[in-house]
């Protein structure tokens, strides 16, 4: 438990992704089975035991400490688990007291799985007696199920994969067939065991991704080599069906990273009644019309999927590739061949919730550029508003995991642009940890006499290294106030820095003071030439919001 606690402790402070990976991989390398397996389970959220309630923890500490001292301490620390971990009274005031060794992670996890509810308080206090401050903190985080240390399941799997110089995709592929403490996985990763077999009838397959195309690329590309499709502004998914043990159909929906998101979309699963694996886009369709991403967002990250949600936000799958047809793996076929199989598959499926993403006919890059500019008149029709550009796919490209060069290209429509004023800056992470590289920017609101800036977004990329140095210098020289790692930067009508911000879309937000939230904002250009008073106003953004909202309203069912 102590080594796991040390890992959690260090991860909780480490901002950099690569450094987090190093810490986790190093832990997997130095800790033996089955402890490391249970750690992997804890980090991926794969542990299943009934979590202890905060009330129980409060009772335990109340039996051991003075209420006034506890109240003063809790008020100072601000976190229950941490306060209890820090002020838990030491047991061994007698030196050389014959203390049992602190519990291992395995002991904690396996005991919690079998323990009855009434036995938990006693067991928990025994463990708290045996652990040090960090150990107690980690234990309490674990048993209350509130780890919150900024580690995704994907990151933990990537760290495990690195143990055997494997790609995270490979682990992801095997994952559904594995269970804690993952002895066979670690044996394989360390080269002393067979590769585990995923017996999942509906496994995830690593996805193929596209590069962003640049103007200059077109000179080297031959239009005849490529097929083009609309790039839909939805969620990339993989819909997989297979035959289970009693040859009934098992269907699953995966995100592009391999996360099983079937539970959020129960209404789509019955439509996947043929064995196969579709690569496509998840969209909301109302009366046959694709809705904007803002509408789709209402269906994402929902714990409970109510019948009303299903009715108001009818989910739809728009298919653009077929990775498996029944038992046959199609990934070694060319795109053109797979497309033929896809057409036949969708026809056989014959389900209104699943349709085909159409191709765009073009004979020159100019023609495709025109289609990208005006999707409505180039075949996308009423769905044009949900098109965020075009995709180019080599006709002879095999389905390769990752982002292979020169096979698939994305050509996004031009972003929205707004001039905003830098308001706050925060130090970056990793390579940029010595620079202020996270920027909060705002636009003007209110009347001329009493105009003020309201924050509308945050961006931490888009600028060049040279521009980063310039902004960093500006931030340090023009700081007006500091809040921990955040600096407030001068932002007056005549004093401050104007940033040209590019973004992909806008939505209403109750979390932001401005009432709007940008999608994918980035710094496009530094406008040293522009005084802050000439930056954009909130009304500009609100108009954009209205035009997007009216589109979805028009199509909403009455």
């Amino acid at each position: 438990m102590n080594r796991f606690a040390e890992l959690l402790d260090r991860l909780a402070y480490e901002p950099g992704r690569n450094n987090k990976l190093r810490l986790i991989t190093n832990y997997f390398r130095s800790v033996e089975d089955p402890d490391r397996g249970y750690a992997l389970a804890a980090l991926t959220g794969a542990l299943s035991f009934k979590h202890a309630k905060p009330g129980l923890i409060r009772d335990l500490i109340a039996e051991r400490t003075d209420p006034m001292l506890f109240a003063l301490s809790y008020d100072y620390v601000g976190d229950l688990s941490e306060t209890v971990a820090l002020m838990w009274p030491r047991q061994s005031d007698q030196p050389l007291h014959n203390n049992p060794p602190p519990p291992t992670l395995t002991e904690v996890v396996t005991t919690l799985r079998t323990l009855g509810k009434t036995e938990i308080p006693k067991q928990l206090s025994r463990w708290l007696d045996d652990l040090d401050e960090t150990g107690r903190w980690a234990l309490l985080k674990l048993v209350t199920g509130a780890m919150r240390i900024g580690i995704s399941a994907r990151l933990a799997k990537t760290a495990a994969a690195a143990l055997g110089d494997k790609d995270a995709h490979e682990v992801e592929l095997l994952w559904p067939g594995l269970a804690p403490p993952y002895l066979n996985l670690f044996a394989w990763l360390e080269g002393c065991g067979e590769k585990p077999v995923n017996r999942d009838p509906a496994p995830f397959r690593p996805v193929m991704l596209a590069h962003a195309v640049e103007e200059a690329d077109f000179a080297t590309l031959d239009p005849a080599d490529y097929a083009a499709e609309w790039k839909w502004d939805g969620i990339r998914v993989q819909a997989v069906s297979g035959r289970g043990p009693q040859s009934h159909i098992v269907s699953r929906l995966y995100s592009r990273t391999g996360e099983d998101i079937s539970k959020s979309f129960p209404d789509l699963l019955p439509s996947l009644h043929l064995p196969g694996a579709i690569d496509g886009e998840l969209l909301v369709l109302r009366q046959g019309r694709v809705q904007s991403f803002n509408v789709l967002q209402q269906r994402l990250n929902r714990k409970v999927v109510s019948p009303k949600l299903i009715k108001d936000y009818p989910i739809h799958l728009r298919a653009y590739d077929l990775l498996a047809d029944d038992e046959t793996d199609l990934r070694d076929l060319t795109f053109a061949e797979r497309r033929e199989r896809l057409l036949a598959f969708i026809a056989r499926l014959g389900d209104p919730r699943v349709d085909l993403s159409p191709t765009i006919a073009f004979d020159s890059w100019e023609a495709l550029a025109a289609a990208r500019r005006e999707p409505a008149s180039a075949g996308a029709g009423a769905d044009a508003e949900a098109v965020e550009g075009v995709m180019l796919k080599r006709r002879d490209a095999l389905y390769l995991p990752g982002r292979p060069k020169g096979q698939w290209w994305k050509w996004k429509r031009d972003p929205y642009i707004v001039d905003a004023v830098l308001m706050y800056a925060q130090r970056g992470h990793g390579k940029r940890s010595s620079f202020y590289s996270d920027y909060t920017f705002g636009v003007w609101t209110g009347d001329d006499g009493d105009a003020q800036l309201v924050p509308v977004g945050k961006a931490y990329f888009g600028f060049t290294d040279e521009e980063l140095l310039q902004i960093d210098r500006f931030v340090r020289r023009n700081t007006t106030e500091k809040f921990g790692p955040v600096r407030q930067v001068v932002h007056e009508p005549d004093q401050g820095l104007v940033l040209e911000v590019a973004f992909e879309g806008l939505q209403r937000s109750t979390r932001h003071k401005s009432g709007v939230a940008m999608r994918f904002p980035r710094i496009n250009r530094l406008r040293w030439d522009k005084p802050p008073r000439e930056a954009d106003r909130l009304e500009t953004l609100e108009r954009l919001l209205k035009s997007e909202a009216s589109e979805s309203a028009e199509a909403a069912p009455d």
């Binding site: 450094n19 100072y76 820090l86 790692p485």
Partner: protein, 357 residues
């Protein structure tokens, strides 16, 4: 003078030492302890700038404390100075004073003031944990003990500083291409961290921010073995990979850090025990190393002095006063202001910019 001594015997403790705006005042002895404003005669417990200020008439302190004041303020920091040795008894006015080791930093002292049958010990800042860079803390039996309360909450338990240094060395092994930047107060903490690193077997050169060179060299001149130390100034970025640099806390968040390759920001302080505090300061590797007594140290020391009455100053007075009362001890907060808000050995994570050094 029998009537005079009878008068002194009857003196109430609060008339022997009285909190005043200038600091703790001993009227019968004609001096102040650690005054925050210029006074005629000052007794100084230790060299941190919130306790040892310039501009007093006469200053009485240990040789080390006087030397440190001279380093910081120049030769003329006081009109006259007098060095006192630990255990040496001096008569000042109607009281006797004696300096005892406080274990806080090099030269730090508790000051015992005796008037008639009443002995009051003003601890200044102290710690009961081992520290190879200064004399160990001495328990001084007394009637009234004036304790600091910087870490006067039961959540503050500092643990073994050697374990924290092991954490730093483990990080250095795991990230050999990154520079490790340790924020530490330049008087006391920095030298203790260096000594702990040496004790843990780390024998590579340790780098210093310009602001800590003078005081660290002084420690060395007093016979504290710190191994090979180098100035970080003038080093090439690549050469600092895998090295440890000590810097004032304010410098670790400054433009100054640009010279280091992907620095890991560590901070050695008792405050690092509380996560939220460490995060606010942007610390990536908190090291719980303190030059103040933790909760267990404060409470154990109070018991060990045998004092019947406890006066609590600068820090978390409420909890410690409450604890004393639970033990049946008379206790009250002494409302002294001006301590713990500067480079005080353990003020909060500093936020001011240090000059490029």
């Amino acid at each position: 003078m029998s009537s005079g001594s009878a008068y002194i015997n009857d003196m109430r403790p609060q008339d022997i030492l009285t909190p005043q705006p200038a600091g703790l005042c001993c009227k019968p002895g004609g001096f102040h302890i650690d005054p925050v404003r210029p006074v005629e005669r000052a007794l100084i417990t230790h060299g941190h700038s919130d306790h040892a200020r310039a501009g007093h008439g006469a200053v009485l302190a240990t040789q080390e404390t006087l030397d440190m004041m001279r380093l910081r303020y120049g030769e003329n920091f006081a009109r006259s100075t007098q060095a006192v040795a630990y255990g040496e008894e001096l008569r000042l006015g109607d009281v006797a004073v004696k300096f005892h080791p406080a274990g806080h930093v090099l030269g730090s002292a508790q000051i015992a003031v005796t008037s008639g049958n009443t002995k009051i010990v003003a601890s200044g800042d102290y710690k009961d944990a081992p520290d190879p860079t200064c004399m160990p803390f001495e328990v001084v039996p007394c009637d009234i003990f004036i304790t600091e309360a910087t870490f006067g909450l039961p959540v503050f338990r500092h643990g073994d500083a050697a374990d924290e240094v092991r954490k730093l060395l483990a990080s250095l092994t795991l990230f050999p291409e990154r520079a490790h930047l340790v924020g530490a107060y330049s008087l006391g903490k920095a030298q203790r961290v260096i000594a702990l690193l040496r004790a843990a077997g780390f024998d590579a050169p340790i780098y210093l921010h310009g602001a800590m060179e003078k005081i660290t060299r002084y420690y060395q001149s007093r016979g504290v073995d710190l191994g090979e130390l180098r100035a970080v100034k003038g080093m090439k970025k690549a050469e600092l990979a895998g090295t440890i640099t000590l810097a004032p806390p304010s410098a670790t968040s400054d433009i100054w850090t640009r010279r280091f390759p992907d620095p890991v920001t560590a901070f050695a302080s008792g405050w690092m025990r509380v996560r939220a505090r460490a995060r606010q300061g942007g610390v990536e590797l908190p090291l719980v190393i303190s030059d103040h007594a933790d909760w267990d140290g404060l409470t154990a020391t109070i018991k060990a002095t045998g004092a019947r009455e406890i006066w609590v100053t600068h820090g978390q007075e409420d909890a410690l006063v409450h604890w004393c009362k639970m033990q049946g001890l008379a206790a009250r907060p002494l409302d002294l202001v001006g301590y713990g808000d500067e480079d005080s050995g353990e003020g909060d994570v500093a936020s001011s910019d240090a000059e490029d050094a």
